[in-house]
């Protein structure tokens, strides 16, 4: 089917352009907005990969939550970087060269690998994969430990971030 290839190429183009803008536009808030576009494009890729659960999770978690959090943080700290100053540090040209080289090397390695051109094993994913996923998340023989560790990690992140991010009022501390 040629249609999915066309969709893939358009989406990939959008993602790459948006990603480059994320790391290069001077205004932080614009970087956040371009990030949203890149993340939405990645959600489309997940649909093409028939991982529909992850496509919606991508939108809910990245666009609905992480992007909002980033925008909040940009608003809270925006006075720090007056947006007209230089946004790239003095290594930026060097960094661009290194990244370009990294990309060339990675692509070369990928193309020389035999498995790179392989096609999907089975054309349509059975919708039961979500059930498989859910089952293995709480199966001791499956991924119970990572699942619970993830929840501990999130709890730790919550505790840490609240502790750091909370406004310490001078008067309140002494009470």
């Amino acid at each position: 089917m040629i249609l999915d290839q066309v969709i893939f190429l358009i989406t990939a183009l959008v993602i790459i352009i948006a990603a480059i803008l994320v790391v290069s536009v001077p205004k932080m808030i614009h970087a956040a907005l371009w990030l949203i576009l890149a993340l939405a494009g990645i959600a489309v890729l997940f649909v093409l990969l028939q991982a529909s659960f992850f496509a919606v999770v991508q939108v809910i978690v990245y666009i609905g939550a992480i992007a909002v959090l980033v925008i909040f943080a940009v608003m809270l700290t925006r006075k720090a970087m007056q947006d007209d100053g230089p946004q790239l540090n003095r290594y930026s040209v060097l960094a661009a060269a290194v990244c370009l080289m990294l990309f060339v090397v990675l692509t070369g390695m990928l193309l020389s690998w035999d498995g790179a051109s392989s096609l999907p094993v089975n054309p349509a994913v059975h919708p039961d994969t979500i059930i498989n996923l859910g089952e293995s998340l709480t199966n001791p023989q499956g991924y119970l430990l990572p699942f619970e560790v993830a929840s501990i990690l999130l709890l730790a992140a919550l505790v840490g971030a609240i502790f750091i991010g909370r406004e310490h009022r001078a008067g309140k501390e002494e009470e």
Binding site: I66, T77, S118, G165
Partner: protein, 102 residues
Amino acid sequence: MIPLSWYLILSAALVCVGVFGVISRRNAIAMLLGVELILNAVNINLLAFWRYKDVSHVTGQVFTIMVITAAAAEVAVGLAIFIAVYRNKRTIAAEDVADLKG
């Protein structure tokens, strides 16, 4: 049908853009956005390998969940640190905040 290499090359490109962002942006939040791009590239790879191998093995999907969790935790704590630093020093340019250097 899309060959696997397309996904891999796209995610390689995304990683490179992300690395560039982390190295060369001055604003700490922008560096964090670069990290987000890298982690998303990882997710593309994980799900692509899950799709192009045996789909009944959900390892790739479980790893994606872990990466998303880690990304969220990283963003939450990272941004909180930047906000706290900003409150104390009125800057979030990464090179100005070198107090934690050993």
